[in-house]
């Protein structure tokens, strides 16, 4: 689950990306030609007012949505050229998601939730168990492996979600408002953890956030406004 500085992967290149939605009879432009380069192994905070296109850009990078125009490349893969099933397969190998409301499966234990994405990997049952256990250890929740989400605090649930995101050793960690449902203490713990994933494991972490404190944990802060890049700040 580690990576040396030479073979770091997770470089993202975004060129001329446009995305619009039809709402009723009206066409709403969400992204109007975004160009952005993100270095591998960095923590990047995507900030901006509501409706600025942050989550849409994150979804496009993660292959959850499809751009109308433009090109998104992650390392050597042009993901805007992939079909739905190819995107799903690519996501399973290269992307880990962390959501604001954690989105753990309530009927599965923490261990099982973390094992879930590993079902898509060519691993034995024992290997899956071991890898999930290791991911839970990284987030400090090995002792809660048998607990279901309902038996965990919000902060613990988000740490399980992070463990699930890193379990299959992806290149990218995409987090949509990861601290939105957490108090300050837990939010800071989660942000520190995301930073560690970049610093110690070489993951590229992109997080959409309204939390100004988040930029303190990021290497780079990208500001979006009205669907366009408004500025990039480096720590």
């Amino acid at each position: 689950m580690s990576s040396s500085s030479q073979d770091r992967r997770g470089r993202i290149s975004i060129a001329g990306v446009r995305k619009s939605y039809t709402r009723g009879t009206e066409e709403v432009t969400v992204l109007s030609g975004v160009d952005l380069e993100i270095e591998a192994g960095r923590v990047v905070a995507l900030m901006g007012p509501s409706g600025s296109g942050k989550s849409t850009l994150l979804n496009l990078i993660g292959g959850l949505d499809v751009a109308d125009e433009g090109r998104i490349t992650v390392d050597d893969t042009v993901i805007t050229a992939l079909r739905a099933d190819e995107l799903a397969a690519w996501r399973s190998r290269h992307v880990g998601f962390v959501f604001q409301s954690f989105n753990l499966i309530p009927v599965l234990t923490a261990q099982e939730n973390v094992e879930l994405p590993l079902l898509l990997q060519p691993l034995s049952k024992a290997q899956r168990k071991e890898q999930a256990r290791y991911a839970l250890e990284i987030v400090g929740l090995a002792d809660r492996a048998g607990h279901r989400p309902g038996q965990l605090s919000g902060g613990q649930e988000q740490r399980v979600a992070i463990a699930r995101a890193i379990a299959s050793d992806p290149t990218l960690i995409l987090a949509d408002e990861p601290t939105g449902d957490l108090d300050r203490t837990n939010a800071d713990a989660v942000l520190q953890m995301l930073r560690r994933l970049a610093d110690e494991l070489g993951k590229t972490v992109l997080m959409v956030t309204h939390d100004n404190a988040a930029s303190a944990f990021a290497h780079q802060t990208v500001h979006l406004d009205k669907g366009a890049l408004a500025g990039v700040a480096h720590a």
Binding site: N59, G62, L64, D65, A84, D85, A88, A89, W90, R91, S92, R93, V95, F97, F99, S101, N103, I105, V107, L108, Q111, E112, E115, L116, P117, L119, L120, K125, R128, K129, R164
Partner: protein
């Protein structure tokens, strides 16, 4: 941990809701099992009929007697081995609701023709020796608690005794049946006793013979002998209608009119109603899980996986409910055989009925889960993740 773990846990997620749906399926499949078994039981009397017996009745109607003189004339027809006289007695034991079939027959010939009627040599000898003796089926004996030596009083409705006095028959044997064409709920007594009572005992009633059961000689074509018999009586006192035993039994099912179709209709309607209940349950389930389906897609599972999980969950739910209903149907076979022994003699739940039942339960599950599964398959992951839990 596997996707089956998720499937299993999801099934237990809303225990009450799913239990009620499974219960509805169980009740429907139990009803199917019962109704279908009634139909197969009625039909099995036809399919297990003898291949060397034909039945001769009046060409006018089954309710019109044939002359007694036909006994000897039939015996002379080429290919006939033996002829037994059968008369429907129609007596009432205490109350008309205690209905069961009673026939006056030629005992020796009857026993020779119906090898499926199993009794001990002692019982056989006792029945043949006693003019007022009777043979009763095992189910009938169990139902009324009769045993050998008991006297069964019957009030004649077709054959009435002077001043409405009861006929009395002594139980000389209790038979079991080795084939489903012969039920175990009938009382047989000697034809000669009935005939003597009419001739000398002041009994009022038809003086002829209801039907003749004819056993054919080995190698005789049933098609040919039925034509030969009917041709023999073409210009006689009464024309005859001769049928194979299977056709004769099938005629009784035809007499029930559309009862089998009616029973099928009821069963089909219930299953159709249950289908909507399953669709409703699975639609609610699908709506509740929209976000989770989005999460699965985000993790890299193809859209079809989420759809299949819903489909299999529906099939598992209905399969389990169906198995419970069919298990109940199979386990109550004996109870229903007792309960409806005289109306549906030999009530049997065939293994094929259970197999069809399982297939129906799974089909209802598949049909019920199909629409929610198709909806899940059409979900865009970004939209699914935005859905409210």
């Amino acid at each position: 941990m596997s996707l089956f773990t998720l499937l299993r846990r999801n099934l237990l997620r809303h225990k009450l809701r799913n239990a009620l749906t499974a219960l509805a399926v169980a009740v429907a499949l139990f009803l199917f099992c019962f109704l279908y078994s009634v139909i197969t039981t009625l039909k099995s009397a036809v399919t297990s009929s003898s291949a060397d017996r034909v039945v001769v009745q009046s060409a006018v109607s089954l309710f019109m007697d044939l002359p007694k003189t036909y006994t000897a004339k039939l015996a002379d027809v080429e290919g006939v081995e033996s002829v037994a006289r059968w008369n429907w007695f129609g007596g009432v034991y205490r109350d008309p609701s205690n209905f069961f079939a009673q026939f006056a027959v030629d005992p020796e010939i009857f026993l020779a023709q119906f090898k499926e009627c199993v009794i001990t040599p002692e019982e056989r000898a006792a029945w043949l020796a006693d003019r007022r003796g009777c043979l009763i089926g095992r189910a009938l004996a169990r139902k009324f608690g009769w045993k050998i030596g008991d006297t069964i009083p019957l009030i004649g409705t077709i054959y009435t005794r002077p001043e409405g006095a009861a006929w009395e028959f002594t139980v000389r044997g209790i038979y079991s049946s080795s084939k489903t064409n012969l039920d175990e709920s009938t009382l047989w007594f000697q034809y000669e006793f009935l005939d003597e009572s009419i001739v000398n005992g002041g009994v009022q009633g038809p003086k002829g013979v209801g039907v003749f059961y004819v056993k054919t000689k080995p190698g005789t074509s049933l098609a040919e002998i039925t034509q030969r018999i009917d041709a023999r009586f073409e210009g006689d006192e009464q024309r005859t209608l001769t049928q194979t035993e299977a056709a004769f039994q099938a005629g009784f099912i035809t007499m029930l009119g559309s009862v089998p179709a009616f029973l099928s209709g009821i069963g089909g309607a219930v299953l159709f109603a249950i289908l909507f209940s399953v669709v409703n349950t699975m639609m609610i389930t699908s709506r509740e899980r929209t976000k989770e389906l989005g999460v699965l897609q985000a993790l890299g599972f193809r859209r079809a996986i989420g759809a299949r999980l819903l489909l299999f969950e529906s099939m598992l739910l209905c399969g389990l409910g169906g198995l419970a209903g069919l298990a109940l149907g199979a386990s109550t076979e004996g109870t229903f055989r007792e309960m409806f022994g005289t109306q549906i003699p030999g009530y049997t739940v065939e293994p094929l009925t259970l197999v069809i039942g399982v297939a129906i339960a799974l089909a209802v599950g598949a049909a019920g889960g199909l629409f929610p599964a198709l909806q899940a398959r059409g979900l865009r992951v970004a939209d699914a993740l935005r859905a409210e839990a």
